[in-house]
């Protein structure tokens, strides 16, 4: 696993830049990660989603799918597309410091 520096911190990432070590993440990093993918400011609403993702991962050991974030987390899908345009599943998990969602096998 490659190591990279984000916002002055060394973190482990996969070849697409998704963080691979749950405990290396913090809120400052999230802000930097968001900037990397063109989200300049994380609003209250963004944070609520990110916190759900982190909590859910802790419980299940898997990055939640878009459908799970909407049905279990209660965030309408349409809203998620507004907050994290075009590729919400990937963008949310990238910012939340979780492995790339694999839902796709």
């Amino acid at each position: 696993m490659p190591v990279t520096t984000i916002g002055g911190k060394e973190v482990h990432v996969d070849d697409e830049g998704f963080m691979t070590n749950y405990d290396e993440w913090d809120e400052e990093l999230a802000k930097q990660l968001a900037k990397n993918i063109g989200i300049d400011e994380l609003t209250e609403e963004h944070w609520r989603v990110i916190k759900f993702l982190r909590e859910d991962f802790k419980e299940t050991g898997e990055t939640p799918t878009l459908r799970r974030v909407s049905t279990v987390g209660g965030f309408p899908t349409k809203e998620l597309f507004k907050l994290f345009p075009k590729k919400p599943a990937k963008k949310m998990s990238y910012i939340a410091g979780l492995p790339k969602p694999h839902g796709c096998v």
Binding site: R67, T71, L80, F81, P85, K87, K90, H102, G103, V105
Partner: protein, 412 residues
Amino acid sequence: MKRLVVLGAGTAGTMVVNKLRPRLDPNEWEIVIVDQEPTHFYQPGFLFLPFGEYGPQDVKKPKKRFIPAGVEFIEGTIDSVDADANTVLLGDGTQLTYDYLVIATGTHPRPEETPGMDGPEFGKTIHTFYTFEGALALREALKGFDGGKLVVHMVDMPFKCPVAPLEFTFLADAYFTELGMRDQVEITYVTPMSGAFTKPVASAHLGNMFDERKIHLESDFYTERIDTDKNALVSYDEREVPYDLVVTVPLNMGADFVAKSGLGDELNHIPVDKGTFVHKDHDNLFVLGDAANIPTSKAGSVAHFAVDVFVPNFLRHIEGLPMLEQFDGHSNCFIESGHGKGLLIDFNYDTQPLPGKYPLPGIGPFTLLGETEMNHWGKLLFRWMYWNLLLPGKELPLPALMSMAGKIPEDE
């Protein structure tokens, strides 16, 4: 007397009872299997029905024919499972108690989950080949199709046999080419994924095959609804894909009793240990096949490899011994590509599909990630193997765990 109850007599459930009956002492073990449907469908054959390559009789046989002597088959609906009390309630009120339970009730298409899909246009301009009836209706629709926009669509991951819509697309391309009307048909592939397939090497390869065949790819398309007034698929980010005929893979969900019993995730798939299939809170409950939430493809081949790992584990587990085998997520899928050719992919939890030869390194006879006639014959031969070897629980000469032998790693 101990009792093993198996829920679902599809691919996985049938294999399990055939493998376990001879290995469990009939004086000590009773085996019961429950299914609501008397007919066993060979689901991979549904792909060939719309093109008239298989007929209805090729893909169905009575379930009972595959249930061995010494196993009781109960035809009935499963209402719920009480995993704390070790009981199963059937729709007619019958209660079954068990010592061990195997859930193998699969995953099934739910057109009603997508607004606009399950309305008056279903079976007219909106079709699916994911059910027997659907595949036959689509056969008629293709016969009557005189050109226009054909859209192949999938609602969301995961769905069983993730390569099936790709195969349908290639076969449709070949079908219209052979009819001499390919230039009158515009084919679009609409997927929630970022490419033709998830895993990078295969996705790039399949993407090239799309370009060669002039198949348009609409990726990252997360469907909100079907607008049947406009004849268009509509995504959450407000893109629209117009169609004259749409062939869809509806959302796939596990059985309703799973939700009712509090066992499933948001799609009624049951989370279990991905190496042993045992439920984390109930060590007498196992989930095999499509019903399980494990990070590999939902496919008959996976169910087969999984059962091969499960059986020796189960025989040790009931003796109080540790389960020694660990499933690696092994999946092996033929991909029909049209004109009598096909591809083969072989992968697991950690290794993506790579080019090479299978099962014998350098020899094959099958070619990984390459289009050959032999691969197509493999796919057709598979139907015979399914009815005659796989379901009856006979040994197939294929190892359960994936092997790197014969594969060419990405960076070489």
